[in-house]
Symmetry: C2
Subunit: 205 residues, 2 copies
């Protein structure tokens, strides 16, 4: 692209580094910002810098937080005997939105992925094992993506946790509610037949 | 969405204001920035603020520029007798990329759109008329979107310019190169039959 301005080119280059943002989209976003008031753009910039500089992670569950201990970990209404292990803060938000879960979380900060050079020591795994030692935890639920990386991580975590007296489970896999059978991929369909549940128990949930 | 952090929520809110960016995408982009170095995020923020504060518009054609007169208007290689009228800087970039046009530009900064409250006085129209008065201009080409707003703007501009001794043209409309006929919309197809060109003259272009 031929830019008429170096400043414009720089701004577009910065935006293009974001995931899923190509040069054309970046240009559209930058031109939009150019049409805003100085104060609006200033506010945008400050929000990013402030976020990066001041954000904290909860020292118990490692979720993104403004405080040293996040609201969920600090809450007395939550069941601190159940820990749901997730990849990142987006998963916490997704599960919180279901209003179905009353336990606490543990945010790994990623998944084991040898291809990307992410090993167990890069994730919050030791601190998860540490949480078992207090003896308060009764159940650990793995809510990780149904991918190779997710399965590898679950396999490794299970090895690390299996000597503690806790229930270990993973969230159910199968066809989605509202999903039409003919569009479901074969692996999911095959597995959901293999792991079928008695009709009456499926009703009670 | 339930955010675990006010800082995160603010940053997501700022990103969501960008066109075509919803809350989920904004969250993805913000979390990506969070994973970058402080210096990278700082550079991102500075690029935006600097752009907004220091950008200039060429005083002749009103294209975005780092100087008072843009490179195209300052160039002796360009034909200053031909002005291509466009909506914004993206259109200048698109036309420059064709390597077909050797004239200069005039950037209106938008299109007349009563629905959005944009009238002729909000656009760089007076300055376009002013450029006619020097008598150097031989041709004005309208390269505006083939929309209601584009047509309205062309209609208005034609009224303002028709008393000057210049050729006024609009870029050709029709089916795109590589376009399959069955997928072309009826209006375009109908018009491109009505405005058909002799085969031999279409070859020479």
């Amino acid at each position: 692209m031929n830019f008429s301005s170096k400043l414009l080119e720089n701004a577009v280059a910065e935006f293009s580094k974001l995931p899923g943002v190509g040069q054309k989209t970046a240009l559209r976003l930058v031109l939009h910002l150019l049409n805003q008031d100085n104060a609006d753009v200033e506010r945008f910039s400050i929000a990013m810098t402030k976020l990066r500089n001041e954000i904290q992670h909860c020292r118990t569950c490692h979720n993104i937080s403004d405080l040293q201990v996040c609201e969920i970990c600090a809450s007395r209404k939550r069941d601190h005997g159940t820990i749901c292990v997730v990849e990142d803060t987006r998963d916490v938000m997704a599960i919180e939105n279901t209003n179905q879960y009353t336990g606490v979380y543990h945010v790994l900060g990623g998944l084991i992925s040898p291809m990307d050079g992410v090993g167990p020591s890069d994730l919050q795994i030791d601190s998860l094992v540490e949480r078992m030692k207090a003896g308060e935890v009764k159940e650990v639920i793995f809510a990780l993506s149904a991918t190779m990386e997710g399965d590898t991580t679950i396999f490794y975590l299970h090895k690390r946790l299996k000597d503690y007296k806790i229930n270990i489970s993973t969230i159910a896999r199968g066809i989605a509610f509202g999903g039409e059978l003919e569009y479901v991929d074969e692996i999911t369909l095959g597995r959901s037949i293999a792991t079928r549940v008695p009709y009456e128990s499926s009703l009670s949930k």
